[in-house]
């Protein structure tokens, strides 16, 4: 069974078609990236898949559960790290993690174990008692991902996770994301071509709400007739061969 399968997934806002009949499948444990210029429909797709927005037409199934009919069940198996850092600024790092454990109904012993596990995996130990609002952008983003991971999601949505981070912080986050491969299905959106190429098992490129191509980075480069992934992206989006 596919981890994510969309069928004619469509979202219209009055006259604008943000996502136009998207048919897509992502395998369990796969790291799948969605690329596209601004307004391509990536974030709208993520919003629909994470039950934040209802499709105008079509449906999507996450581990077999419909985003329209089985919303509550879908919400139990997903986690989202939004584009903007989504943390509670007045709480400490530990309290932020406790908040997410609480809203997922974890009992106290499991809560403590998960906090220890995630803080270790994301090296948050040194900042656990610090107020989240006082952390640097890189640490806040790291916490944001930790908050997504602590709920033990089967499918994780990372919406531009490294946006605005410096090179070191980005590299560290890449290492963290790589460790998820095979364990969690990750849907990643990004504007950074090298990020998608370095991390993804497969990449989908969108333009004007449509999926133009969906393949491995190597096959996308071959298909566009170039060795450079960024060049391949530009050619595909512009419709040049």
């Amino acid at each position: 069974m596919d981890a994510v399968r969309t069928q004619n997934l469509t979202k219209k806002y009055k006259d604008v078609v943000a996502v136009d009949g998207l048919d897509l499948s992502v395998r369990p444990g796969e790291l799948f990236s969605l690329l596209g210029v601004n307004g391509a429909g990536k974030t709208t797709t993520i919003k629909m898949l994470s039950c934040l927005s209802s499709p105008t037409d079509g449906d999507a199934y996450l581990n077999g559960k419909s985003i329209i009919r089985d919303t509550s069940e879908v919400k139990r198996i997903i986690a989202v790290s939004p584009q903007e850092t989504a943390i509670a600024p007045g709480l400490s790092v530990k309290e932020n993690l406790e908040l997410i454990c609480g809203v997922h109904g974890f009992p106290k012993n499991k809560r403590e174990a998960k906090i220890g596990e995630v803080s270790c995996a994301l090296s948050l130990g040194s900042v656990m008692k610090k107020k989240a609002g006082k952390l640097s952008g890189g640490w806040q983003r790291r916490l944001s991902i930790a908050m997504a991971l602590i709920s033990e999601p089967e499918i994780l949505f990372l919406d531009e996770p490294t946006l605005g981070l410096d090179v070191i912080a980005r590299s560290e986050l890449w290492d963290i994301i790589r460790t998820l491969k095979g364990k969690v299905t990750v849907i990643l959106t990004t504007h950074y071509m090298e990020e998608a190429e370095a991390l993804s098992d497969r990449i989908g490129i969108m333009r004007e709400g449509r999926l133009l191509i969906c393949d491995t980075a190597d096959n996308i480069k071959k298909s566009a007739g170039t060795d450079n992934f960024e060049e391949a992206f530009i050619r595909i989006v512009r419709g040049v061969k």
Binding site: K47, S50, C51, L52, S53, S72, K75, R76, I78, A79, V80, S81, P82, Q83, E84, T85, A86, I87, A88, P89, G90, L91, E95, E98, L99, I100, G102, V103, H104, G105, S144, M147, A148, S151
Partner: protein, 243 residues
């Protein structure tokens, strides 16, 4: 459980902001002291401690609207709510989580206000306990306003509208600072058509032990409180769907 977890988080966010403590507890106390000092030098019946304290207690509750609206609007702008909307939390969890922490804070604020009034000469009677208990329906009104403003305004707008406009309007139209009979006319009619003066009159009647005098003020406060809370829940759920 989820609503409780969220309520605990919201309580921490509110109480850890020093500005909230300064305005929520400090400002009403300063006003109580200041107006009592004026009363000591230039006696005005309106500022006698048994008339002034219920007014200040109600005025202090208007800061609950500011606290709750600021928290909700900031959560909306920071994407924290968007993250939480993708969790198993239900709309009821969010609404309870935002409203429940404000009520005990409001009660504590009233207790502090009445304790300060006792130090300033308010007679100690059992009616003080009733007056504190009757802040509950009044706090529903202000909590509802907070949920409403937080759901429809940005965090910058909340600062202006709840922080300046609402606190001032609820004060002017409550009959705490000046006797509405002295102004009369349209101003008085508007004041009596709104719940703020009724909230103050309700508290004054309870403190005076005039339990027959709580009507019709209690109905005004409850009517506005419930209507605003229902509207607030509708607006909150609407912005939830808009995400």
């Amino acid at each position: 459980m989820r609503a409780y977890t969220f309520a605990v988080r919201n309580t921490k966010e509110i109480l850890r902001d020093p500005l909230n403590l300064a305005f929520g507890l400090g400002f009403p106390l300063v006003l109580l002291l200041l107006l009592s000092a004026i009363q000591a030098n230039v006696p005005v019946s309106l500022f006698e401690i048994d008339s002034l304290t219920p007014g200040i207690a109600v005025f202090g509750l208007s800061f609950m609207t500011l606290f709750s609206a600021t928290l909700i609007s900031k959560d909306r702008s920071s994407s924290l709510l968007r993250r939480l909307y993708t969790t198993p939390m239900t709309p009821a969890d969010f609404i309870l989580g935002y409203t429940l922490p404000i009520v005990p804070i409001a009660v504590i604020q009233s207790v502090v206000c009445y304790l300060a009034a006792v130090i300033l000469g308010l007679d100690v009677t059992v009616n003080i306990i009733y007056a504190v208990l009757f802040t509950f329906p009044v706090s529903v009104l202000y909590v509802g306003l907070g949920l409403l403003c937080g759901s429809i305004l940005t965090d910058k707008q909340v600062g202006g509208i709840c922080g300046a406009l609402l606190t001032n309007l609820s004060a002017w139209l409550s009959g705490v600072w000046f006797d509405l009979e002295l102004v009369g006319g349209v101003f008085k009619k508007i004041a009596h058509a709104l719940p703020f003066v009724h909230a103050v009159e309700l508290e004054r009647a309870v403190l005076a032990g005039d339990f027959g005098g709580i009507f019709p003020h209690l109905w005004w406060v409850l009517g506005y409180g419930i209507a605003i809370l229902v509207l607030a829940v509708f607006c909150f759920m609407r912005q939830m769907k808009k995400q």
